[in-house]
Symmetry: C2
Subunit: 321 residues, 2 copies
Amino acid sequence: MKTLVSYTELIENALSDFNLPQQPAQLYDPLRYFLTLGGKRMRPILTLLATEAFGKNAKDGIHAALAVELFHNFSLIHDDIMDAAPLRRGQHTVHEKWNTNIAILSGDVLLVKAYECLGKYDANIFKNLFAVFNQTAIEVCEGQQYDMDFEQRNDVSEEDYIEMIRLKTSVLLGCALELGAIIGGADLSEAQKIYRFGEQLGLAFQIQDDLLDLFGTEAQVGKQIGGDVLANKKTLLSIAAKRLASPEQRLTLKEIEQVKNDTDKIARTQKIYQELGAKSYCETKMNNFHQEALQALDLIESKHSKAAFYDLAEFLLNRAH
Amino acid sequence: MKTLVSYTELIENALSDFNLPQQPAQLYDPLRYFLTLGGKRMRPILTLLATEAFGKNAKDGIHAALAVELFHNFSLIHDDIMDAAPLRRGQHTVHEKWNTNIAILSGDVLLVKAYECLGKYDANIFKNLFAVFNQTAIEVCEGQQYDMDFEQRNDVSEEDYIEMIRLKTSVLLGCALELGAIIGGADLSEAQKIYRFGEQLGLAFQIQDDLLDLFGTEAQVGKQIGGDVLANKKTLLSIAAKRLASPEQRLTLKEIEQVKNDTDKIARTQKIYQELGAKSYCETKMNNFHQEALQALDLIESKHSKAAFYDLAEFLLNRAH
């Protein structure tokens, strides 16, 4: 099993070798720009990891890894338009640096390019790869739509929220792993187990993200604490807090939403979320998804080298400690 | 060989049976709406026609026909955003009826749904279908980008313009036919010939469109004459006119662009385009592409029933007479 660094290197090299046409420049320049903004390349790493764990050389997974990374970047470019986000990884988003039309169209062609990468596999496994990838692509779009819908709604349940983050973010982690497993030669049932591992781990990871955003340190999250609270964003924490609150406490929650002083608003939210048990509720939820992920892993035949996946789960969910 | 009406019926039925999920409603309602706005369904008809001409039942081509039609509608939804078009087929565009974010995302998922339709074919032909479809999808995006670029440029050559319309519109006609041919069992070289037939016919058709827009009758085109001229749109006519004009005549062309009275502007443009020979130049170009299309058809082995394609070429290019 290779180290994470060597997987990242494989991916970065493949991305630099990825030959986007020179013309039309307004279509492909934004992609060249966006693909070099970096990021952890977590999803393609998962694909390579699974390719190797299930018995092939990591390099054999590189086209699928690229497909997943390109798809992810397509969805970021379009999400950034929808969220009117000016920055991504500290740099201008495509619609900011160019314009919305260019961001729409270059996103479109990037999605098609993702399919093109997947099309590099032999016909005998291509259809299976395609089926997983396509279903995931649909679900990610659905997740983004639910996310937009939820901004307008005040009755979002925990179940709704978890289903939204499952679609919007977790399924792509499952997909990344399953593609690798299929390329590695896993049979269908093993491939589905590693998918479930990724999906459940993704849910745990996302809830951890919500928790760290309010209860972490700047060093842990690499940005200011309390961003979600300041933006009055719906998270599992805020939804759970509302459910756990008495009618009186609900009024307090509403009051805190209106607080103008940032430090004050964050401190008061931290305090009431702890009092209400929303924090510990989310921690339990996170641990449950973590356990679900590990159970899916336990069910995979031990002839496959699963150690890297256990390490990964530990690594990803260790930010909170 | 079935009649065009019966092909249309097959397609309309398949579109009504096409089960888009109910939720999220904001994602799928716009697609249900847009797919019932109608249109001639020319592209999916081509697929069914080719499926049958090359030896299979038209019904066997239905999933590919749907893939082509869904792809076409995806590109219309996104193009309408980019063109800020309020209406499509006399009805509100998706971004007008809902909003831009919803039009982006529902377009995205429609593209994925198009791939899903294509994925219904057996692995042995699926890879070939996929390769043609994917390449075409990339080219259509490139064509749309060139179209947007050309609006900002004053040095667009006839060659540039023709390459733009080839990418933006003609390749999808070629693709629609080639998919049908592959499903019908054509070998690679026959499939490529029918692709070329569609591509060249598409070029002839688009140039005819430009000609009719200025020199046709309202009955022929189903809308007011002179729309391109009033919008100062670049067409093969306007580009050829500029090239054929003397320095003095170029000043006249510029002068006409500024004319405020619509009837006057159209009449003066018609007159000068005829004087410059731009009209007859475009007619010759159109006829050349038409002949190229027929020659591609001539090269296809006569064991295949090509009559429908000759009829089609006649039918499509008969609007001008």
